[in-house]
């Protein structure tokens, strides 16, 4: 039987990559992702994981090496964070456009300047439109489970897209949690082998990442868009199969006391767990509040989001990133777009908070919800409010 053990989430993530039997890992260490790649380097050096570990000179090279590895049909993993993710930015588009099933853990970190190694979602939002499938995780078990699912989703013949797993820097990556690592044989059965349909091979030469003149570029982009949207079916199917096999269940949009709530808070990532405690406390005080957690970020789960909020009067969205000079938090913008044409939809209030590693406590979430309700009733002159800023 699989044992439930206390371990650091980064180490557990590395163990999940080992369980998935990755063939190639190309990564450059950066805080707060370091413990993941350190652990993987150790596993490879000790002969516990039979993989090629490529210690590259930058994140740009890390992702480029991953392209080559995935193109040859190898099961490929990397991890990055913050500035590192930004440095590999242009190559992220290449990975998705070339339909290469790379799995990457992004340990969310605020972007400079000022330099911050602590967590928020500004790195994630900067890579929103890179064409990757993107999942947000809440706790250590979730992270391990999504790593396994990510390989299965990415390598599915109907998908063949890279997958990013977001986990909050420090708040999630560096905590020690009780985690169950599945049995190797179960994982092997769940994942199967990677069978990239057109790998680089001398017996059948192909050209990848060729140039696309104006007569064909639009078609390539539409093909990519259709493919990413359709991948949602496979993501759902994978989570169902995962639930059957491992008895843990995941949804694109998950609720907590949300069914009958008049006021909903929407969060992403590990802060959702603190928010749940706040919701629980407010419920005990008789307030009809609930929580919606967005797990699947790309492809965006339009129908699930609409269904989840349709009975609410007010929806408060907490973003951990700012779209400077824009309409507020990037997640809130998307939620607004998804709901704007719906006949029945809640009022929407945008909050930005938890930037650069600043905590939002249970009290903090209560304050956000209380202030959100006030804005919902009286309105606000601002596009969004920033939580906890000292005036």
């Amino acid at each position: 039987m699989a044992q439930r053990l206390g371990m650091e989430v980064s180490v557990a993530l590395g163990e999940a990559v080992k369980l998935a039997d990755a063939d190639v890992i190309a990564a450059y260490p950066i805080t707060p992702q370091t413990h993941i790649v350190e652990h993987l380097a150790e596993l490879v050096a000790d002969g516990e994981l039979d993989a090629e570990y490529i210690p590259v000179e930058s994140e740009h090279s890390a992702m480029s090496a991953c392209l080559g590895a995935a193109a040859s049909g190898a099961r490929t993993f990397t991890a990055s964070a913050g500035q590192g993710l930004e440095l590999m930015h242009e190559v992220l588009y290449v990975a998705s456009s070339m339909r290469l099933p790379i799995v990457m853990a992004v340990v969310n970190r605020a972007l400079s300047a000022p330099l911050s190694v602590w967590g928020d979602h500004s790195d994630a939002m900067a890579v929103r439109d890179t064409g990757w499938i993107q999942l947000f995780t809440e706790n250590g078990q979730d992270v391990v489970d999504q790593v396994l699912c990510a390989f299965r989703i990415a390598e599915d013949r109907r998908v063949l897209l890279p997958v990013m797993i977001h986990l909050d820097g420090f708040h999630l990556s560096h905590v020690i949690e009780p985690i169950t690592l599945p049995e190797q044989t179960q994982v092997e059965q769940f994942l199967g082998t990677n069978q990239y349909p057109l790998p680089l091979h001398p017996n059948k030469p192909v050209a990848m990442g060729d140039f696309g003149p104006p007569f064909i570029y639009t078609e390539t982009k539409w093909a990519q868009e259709v493919n990413l949207r359709k991948s949602k079916e496979v993501v759902l199917e994978c989570w169902q199969e995962f639930g059957r096999t491992f008895k843990r269940h995941y949804q694109p949009v998950e609720g907590y006391h949300s069914e009958d709530a008049r006021v909903l808070l929407l969060t992403m990532g590990s802060f959702s767990e603190t928010a749940m405690t706040a919701i629980e406390r407010m419920r005990q005080n008789g307030q009809e509040v609930g929580l919606i957690r967005l797990r699947l970020w790309r492809p965006f789960p339009f129908s699930e989001v609409r269904r989840a909020v349709k009975n609410a009067e007010l929806l408060i969205v907490l973003d951990r990133a700012i779209s400077f000079g824009g309409p507020g938090g990037p997640v809130c913008s998307e939620i607004r777009s998804a709901l704007y044409n719906q006949e029945k939809r809640p009022k929407i209030v945008s909050f930005v908070g938890g930037l650069g590693g600043r905590d939002i406590t249970v009290d903090g979430f209560e304050q956000i919800i209380t202030r959100g309700i006030e804005i919902g009733q009286k309105g606000s002159e601002q596009e969004f409010e920033i939580f906890g800023v000292r005036e």
């Binding site: 070339m98 339909r99 050209a207 007569f215 064909i216 078609e219 390539t220 093909a223």
Partner: protein
């Protein structure tokens, strides 16, 4: 490619727009980028082959008589051959629509 360019749809593309037919770049007409074409005065040509060596497109080839001629399907009209010719045997002429 089986279909002409203008009829290709997004459904015709391989996964990730992979090109499975090796060497099909040779079907790509770069000659229509040209605004000038090289014209050869073979009376001045000493068959030294400098134009052949310098052509960045690799579109020059030697005829049976030993002269060098550009394949206008590929020639982009850059004029390097005319610039390098030691006897002035190549002149660039304006393309007419």
């Amino acid at each position: 490619m089986a279909k002409p360019e203008s009829e290709l749809t997004w459904r015709d593309l391989e996964i990730g727009s992979i090109v499975t037919e090796p060497g099909n770049a040779s079907q790509y007409r770069t000659g229509d980028w040209r605004s000038q074409r090289p014209s050869h005065d073979f009376a001045k040509c000493i068959k030294c082959g400098l134009c052949y060596i310098f052509c960045p497109e690799g579109c020059l080839s030697q005829t049976a008589e030993g002269y060098f001629e550009a394949d206008l399907f590929y020639c982009k009209g850059c004029g390097i051959c005319a610039q390098e010719c030691p006897t002035g045997a190549i002149a660039m002429q304006q393309e007419e629509e």
